[in-house]
């Protein structure tokens, strides 16, 4: 009797200890390094990242895969690969983060990718859109999009819609060139003709020369790509002022032109613009409606969730699901394996992390900017399902 009682006591003691040990392990906070832009002209990006992350954590009681989460955010002040690399190194070595995320600018992502390979730390990219980022390191997975991924479908849709010729205008920097190449390839492959190309400098206060040039060339349609911010509204202002629509020239663009963060400020010049992108604030799914509602409840209505916030939200979701798959093990190789092939529903629609390329596979929508309830919204009316990055597909 005593033996059984003692062994029972011992057994329960052991069990209790094991529980405590297990709980202690589960209570080890998961440290995530968030590298974004919080200052300067692009400070909105960091703000949106924070909002997406905060929303996800709130929904899940501040836990990921049962562990408490500590997000350490660092500012790069824009495109600053030197600082990004240093910050990534410090986050890994000093703050001992297990996962790196954020990364709004492509040069920053490339620089951090190199650190990730050395340190074997997983990187979940929340925005950077250069195609080569996921190829540059085996420890990088991307949740956002690539420029080619949203430019190519626009070309196809335009062809489908009967547009035979296009004049292409892009900003003169790497993503602009990528967009031009992808659009041109898809458009010409489908039998269309690119009748003119323009690369405008990034610092370009006045678009009148370019728009006038297009007006004089009288193409059937124009496709443009500018980074989200002040360039698209400036271009659209001149476009409207010159009466280009009345001249019969159709205008198409990628969704950066009608970025939800800037759409209100852009104003009515964006009305009627047809764009292609992976997220619209007005996406009619139940998940998005809940997402927007929760977002507005927590952050008010002055800041609209843009694709930055949604991707941040999804990145946290991806990390959560991956860690659930690995059973809480946050080591680089295991997490990357778990991320591959991950499929789930995002506020933007269904998304998947391609097992082969670790890049995002998602629906690209064709939207039109309309006034809904007195506000400008990108209303989706067509789509391309399961679009993979065309630049990688071609290889």
């Amino acid at each position: 009797m005593t033996m059984t009682k003692r062994s029972l006591l011992a057994a329960s003691a052991m069990a209790a200890l094991a529980c405590i040990a297990g709980a202690a392990h589960a209570q080890d906070a998961l440290k995530i390094g968030l590298i974004g832009t919080y200052s300067g002209p692009y400070a909105d990006y960091g703000r949106q990242f924070d909002a997406g992350v905060a929303l996800y954590l709130k929904e899940h009681g501040g836990k990921i895969a049962g562990r408490a989460v500590e997000v350490i955010k660092k500012d790069t002040g824009g495109a600053n690969p030197d600082a990004s690399k240093r910050i990534a190194q410090e986050l890994i070595v000093r703050d001992k983060v297990q996962i790196l995320t954020g990364l709004d600018f492509s040069p920053n992502a490339y620089a951090v990718g190199a650190v990730a390979t050395q340190a074997k730390v997983p990187v979940v990219v929340m925005n950077a859109s250069s195609s080569g980022i996921t190829t540059s390191s085996p420890y990088v997975a991307r949740l956002s999009f690539t420029v080619q991924q949203v430019s190519d479908p626009m070309a196809r849709w335009m062809l489908r819609n009967g547009t035979k010729e296009a004049y292409v205008v892009v900003a003169d920097y790497a993503p602009g060139t990528d967009s031009l190449t992808a659009f041109k390839k898809a458009f010409e492959q489908g039998g269309g003709k690119v009748v003119g190309e323009l690369k405008t400098p990034m610092s370009n206060p006045d678009f009148s020369a370019y728009v006038q040039r297009i007006k004089d060339a009288k193409p059937q349609s124009v496709f443009f790509f500018f980074p989200s911010g002040v360039m698209p509204p400036a271009f659209l202002k001149v476009w409207k002022e010159r009466g280009m629509d009345e001249a019969g020239i159709k205008l198409y663009a990628t969704g950066e032109a009608t970025d939800d963060s800037y759409l209100d400020a852009t104003g009515d010049v964006a009305l009627g613009l047809v764009t292609s992108h992976h997220y619209s604030y007005g996406h009619p799914s139940a998940k998005n409606q809940k997402f927007v509602k929760d977002f507005e409840a927590q952050f008010g209505t002055t800041m609209r969730p843009s694709y930055f916030a949604v991707t941040a939200y999804d990145a946290m979701a991806a990390i959560d699901l991956a860690l659930k798959k690995t059973g809480g093990d946050a080591s680089g190789d295991k997490v990357m394996e778990a991320l591959k092939g991950l499929q789930f529903e995002s506020p933007r629609g269904p998304i998947e992390i391609d097992a082969a390329t670790r890049d995002i596979v998602q629906t690209v929508y064709i939207r039109k900017t309309e006034k809904v309830g007195g506000k400008l919204v990108n209303v989706e009316f067509d789509k391309f399902d399961r679009v993979k990055d065309p630049a990688k597909e071609a290889k």
């Binding site: 200052s39 703000r47 002040g77 600053n80 240093r86 620089a111 050395q118 920097y173």
Partner: protein, 321 residues
């Protein structure tokens, strides 16, 4: 407060102490090694700028052109098979120096303001060129695929920044001593003379323009080495290295430290980057506000930057700099 007087011997001891203190941060601040190596590199860049700005009196906000030229030189070499670090530095020095000397013909004409705008113009043009030639330079995405060989064939560039620190420190110290040698030579004295009173120098027959061109060339060469260091220690060259913003930032650093004084660039880099990092950690969104206040305070409280303030407190027995 009565100024402290130091003998040249004491001054030299202070200098040695300074460098020893910097070296000791390797052990005292092991988590900040990467930040420290970047501080050294920007310190060298600021010292290079000082050669042109503080000593030769050429007002320029375009020095990132040479920094970037050096960075791309080392970067392209490392990308296309030649990864040996020291020869990369040498190549950067030669390329940047040649570029600087060639451009110096434009710089030595006209008034301060004209020179300022020309240097800005050249810097922006080079930036655009780097952007245009994106097939070679990687454009705005940056130059990747750099393969820098281990230093001396043994020390690899590691994650903890150990090799980067020692490499950067060693090179910066060596280049600093070289710059110091140049500035204390008769050439350097001629430069100071030109800065102080150009007409007089012309009157005594000093070839003013030739001296200014040489100074600008040297300054460009050292800036190029700094750029190459950054490229090699980060194994990446961003197009920002050659941009106007970097030129402006290094000017701020130098002015904060104090122009025309040998250690101005280094002190400026240490203070600016530490303060920037500290503010950015405290407040990622609004560090710029606090940094702006800091800069305004620095100017209102003392002229000539930090070194200027120091020089009012510390006198030397002989007039040796």
């Amino acid at each position: 407060m009565k100024p402290i007087t130091l003998t040249p011997g004491q001054l030299r001891a202070a200098e040695v102490l300074f460098w020893l203190a910097l070296a000791s941060t390797f052990f005292l601040a092991p988590d900040h090694r990467t930040l420290l190596s970047q501080i050294f590199i920007f310190g060298l860049f600021a010292v290079a700028l000082d050669m042109a700005l503080g000593y030769a009196g050429i007002l320029t906000v375009g020095h990132a052109a040479f920094f970037g030229a050096g960075a791309y030189t080392a970067g392209l070499l490392a990308k296309h098979g030649w990864g040996e670090p020291f020869s990369g530095l040498l190549a950067a020095l030669v390329v940047a120096g040649a570029l600087g000397y060639a451009l110096s013909y434009l710089i030595v004409r006209g008034a301060d303001l004209t020179r300022l705008m020309i240097t800005i113009g050249v810097c922006v043009l080079l930036y655009e060129l780097a952007n245009r030639l994106s097939a070679i330079t990687g454009g705005s995405d940056g130059l990747q695929g750099m393969n820098v060989s281990p230093v001396f064939g043994v020390f690899e560039f590691d994650l903890f920044g150990k090799t980067a620190f020692c490499y950067a420190f060693g090179v910066v110290l060596a280049m600093f001593l070289l710059v110091r040698l140049i500035l204390r030579s008769p050439f350097g004295l001629a430069l100071r003379g030109i800065h102080d009173n150009r007409k007089r120098m012309l009157a005594i027959g000093s070839p003013v323009e030739a001296r200014l061109r040489m100074a600008y060339g040297f300054s460009a060469a050292v800036a190029g080495v700094a750029g190459a260091l950054l490229a090699q220690t980060t194994q990446f060259v961003g197009i920002e290295s050659i941009g106007f913003n970097r030129s402006a930032e290094i000017l701020i650093i130098l002015v904060l430290g104090g122009t025309g004084r040998l250690y101005g660039g280094l002190v400026g880099a240490i203070v600016y980057m530490l303060v920037h990092d500290w503010f950015a950690d405290l407040n990622p969104e609004y560090w710029m506000f606090w940094l702006g206040i800091f800069l305004i305070a620095a100017v209102m409280l003392g002229r000539g930057g930090i070194m200027g303030a120091l020089s009012r407190r510390i006198r030397t027995k002989e007039h040796a700099r």
